[in-house]
């Protein structure tokens, strides 16, 4: 679905590379957290996947397209299969909720009929069908992010890319948004989400890819935000093992 191979990216004027040889493989239907502090390279990775940036070296493959060798026309086609959500929502302030979502379909030339059924459907999915005619300024932060998610989903993308979608939201609202993203993921959409919200990552127990200084330092399934310091790892492993053995009802000491 998404594959990065030894991707190196250095921005103009920056000394150190933003990405220093990143490789990752994301399968269909996965839910992946990209974690790491600000400036670690999370957003750069997402920008690579969206072809907002081009890799200096290495391969970027998204939905079967090699993004190093892709025409502008194909970029547009590719982005129609990707949904994107940002920390700052990026809604158009002069358009209503309905118009904001419909805009994403109008600009790619969808028919009126399609828009008139797809938009109410997706607004219902995010729970905003009652507020379709409100302007973004009349909505709470969580509601605004739902509009953004609805806009990202309305064209039924295969992948949803979220760059710190809960960054501007309080913990309760963040949870609601995460529940929504999980539901979307369960319906088959691949979700890639950059975050540094520890509690969310720890609660969800999904695949976690940790990035530090432009390098992947950890890639684990059903993981938490931070791995424990390495000198404690053996203890944990031993603890886990003993629990497993306890659970199986066998006692190696007695055997």
């Amino acid at each position: 679905m998404i594959r990065l191979e030894d991707v190196i990216k250095t921005y103009k004027g920056a000394g150190l590379p933003a990405l220093g040889g990143v490789s990752i493989d994301i399968q269909r239907g996965e839910f992946v957290f990209l974690v790491g502090s600000s400036g670690s390279g999370k957003s750069s990775m997402l920008r690579m996947m969206l072809r907002e940036e081009k890799a200096d070296q290495g391969e970027v493959l998204v939905l079967g397209e090699n993004l190093n060798r892709i025409s502008a026309r194909r970029v547009a086609q590719l982005r129609r299969k990707l949904g994107v959500v940002f920390q700052d929502f990026r809604l158009l302030p002069n358009k209503t909720v309905y118009q904001n979502v419909a805009f994403a379909l109008q600009v790619i030339g969808r028919s009126k009929g399609f828009i008139e059924t797809a938009v109410p459907d997706v607004l219902k999915l995010v729970g905003l069908d009652e507020k379709a005619s409100r302007l973004p300024s009349g909505l709470s932060g969580g509601e605004q992010q739902r509009v953004a998610i609805a806009r990202a989903l309305v064209n039924r993308p295969e992948i949803l890319i979220a760059d710190e979608p809960t960054g501007n939201l309080d913990p309760t609202t963040s949870l609601e948004i995460m529940n929504l993203l999980e539901r979307i993921n369960l319906s088959g959409t691949t979700v890639v989400m950059a975050t540094h919200d520890r509690s969310i990552v720890d609660r969800m127990r999904k695949r976690v890819v940790e990035i530090r200084d432009g390098k992947i330092v950890r890639d684990e399934l059903s993981a938490s935000y931070k791995e424990l310091p390495s000198d404690q790892m053996p203890i944990i492993e031993e603890f886990k093992k003993s629990i497993d053995e306890f659970g199986s009802g066998e006692n190696p000491d007695k055997a």
């Binding site: 502008a72 026309r73 129609r80 030339g109 064209n155």
Partner: protein, 304 residues
């Protein structure tokens, strides 16, 4: 991309940027009007050239008793010298170039002078014998007047050979200079129009950067992102071009035909036909200008 949507986006761009759009309209209107004035002047020069060159004659002035000694050392022209000039006009070398010629004696020259300068006081002191007899020569090709000048200059009994085109060329040089000046202003104005269009598109793109960002993210094609801006540039320049076409017809109708043609009746002037000739070029220049300026600006500021 639906046409209606592109148009509504373009309309939104024009509304949010109205003063800049008005300035594009005005600058392109004025610059294209200068182009049109330059072109009309050239057409007028062309028209006058064909009109006057047809009528321009070469005069071979013969000596009088009052002629200066340098030109006429032997005094007034003799009958033999008159015949010599006439013979040469009929000779095999000159004959093919000459359409017609006629002889004007002193009395005829005097009468012509009196009618032309009736209101000049000095005319009263002039007598017929002070004026030159002359052979007036019409050439088939007025460009070949040098042949006549060469053949008769310095001939005994000939005071001076004068090509009337010499007077006309001065007028044409002046008109040409005016036309060049208008053209020069037009070039500078067109340049500023180009810069103004690209600045306006840049501003327009900036004021709608949120929309553009979203359009890019959801996979709108380059064309559908750029088309409203391109149309904005083309339509505002187009309005300016149409205004300049209007101005062209206005100039020809009210300035040239109503004023100049009445005040200066002895020459021919350009008419509505010439305005029709200029109009399509104004529209074309306006269109090319808009496409180039907005194209460059869009390419620089609106890439996927």
């Amino acid at each position: 991309m639906r046409l209606g949507f592109v148009l509504s986006e373009m309309w939104a761009g024009i509304r949010s940027n109205l003063s800049m759009v008005v300035s594009i309209i005005l600058v392109s209107f004025i610059s294209l009007t200068f182009v049109s004035v330059a072109a009309l002047l050239q057409l007028q020069i062309g028209q006058m050239k064909t009109y006057w060159y047809e009528r321009a004659q070469v005069a071979v002035y013969l000596c009088t008793d009052f002629s200066p000694d340098e030109a006429c050392p032997s005094g007034g022209v003799t009958q033999a010298q008159r015949i010599a000039v006439a013979t040469q006009l009929k000779s095999a070398t000159l004959e093919p170039y000459i359409d017609s010629y006629f002889f004007e004696n002193q009395q005829e020259a005097y009468e012509k002078f009196l009618t032309e300068f009736a209101d000049v006081e000095a005319a009263a002191y002039l007598t017929a014998d002070q004026l030159n007899e002359a052979y007036w020569v019409n050439l088939i090709d007025p460009e070949r007047s040098d042949l006549i000048v060469e053949s008769f200059s310095g001939l005994d009994g000939v005071e001076e050979v004068r090509d009337q085109r010499g007077y006309l060329d001065q007028i044409f040089a002046f008109l040409n200079l005016t036309s060049l000046a208008a053209g020069g202003v037009a070039v500078v104005m067109l340049l500023s129009a180009t810069l103004l269009i690209s600045t306006t598109i840049r501003l327009s793109a900036f004021s709608r950067r949120r929309e553009i960002r979203i359009m890019k993210l959801v996979g709108a094609s380059n064309f559908s992102i750029q088309a409203p801006f391109l149309l904005e540039g083309i339509i505002s320049t187009g309005i300016g071009a149409l205004l300049s076409v209007g101005a062209t017809f206005g100039i020809v109708r009210f300035v040239v035909q109503d004023i100049l043609a009445v005040e200066v009746p002895f020459t021919s002037f350009i008419g509505i036909n010439e305005a029709w000739q200029v109009a399509p070029y104004l529209l074309l220049i306006g269109f090319v200008l808009a496409v180039l300026a907005s194209g460059v600006s869009i390419r620089r500021h609106l890439k996927i």
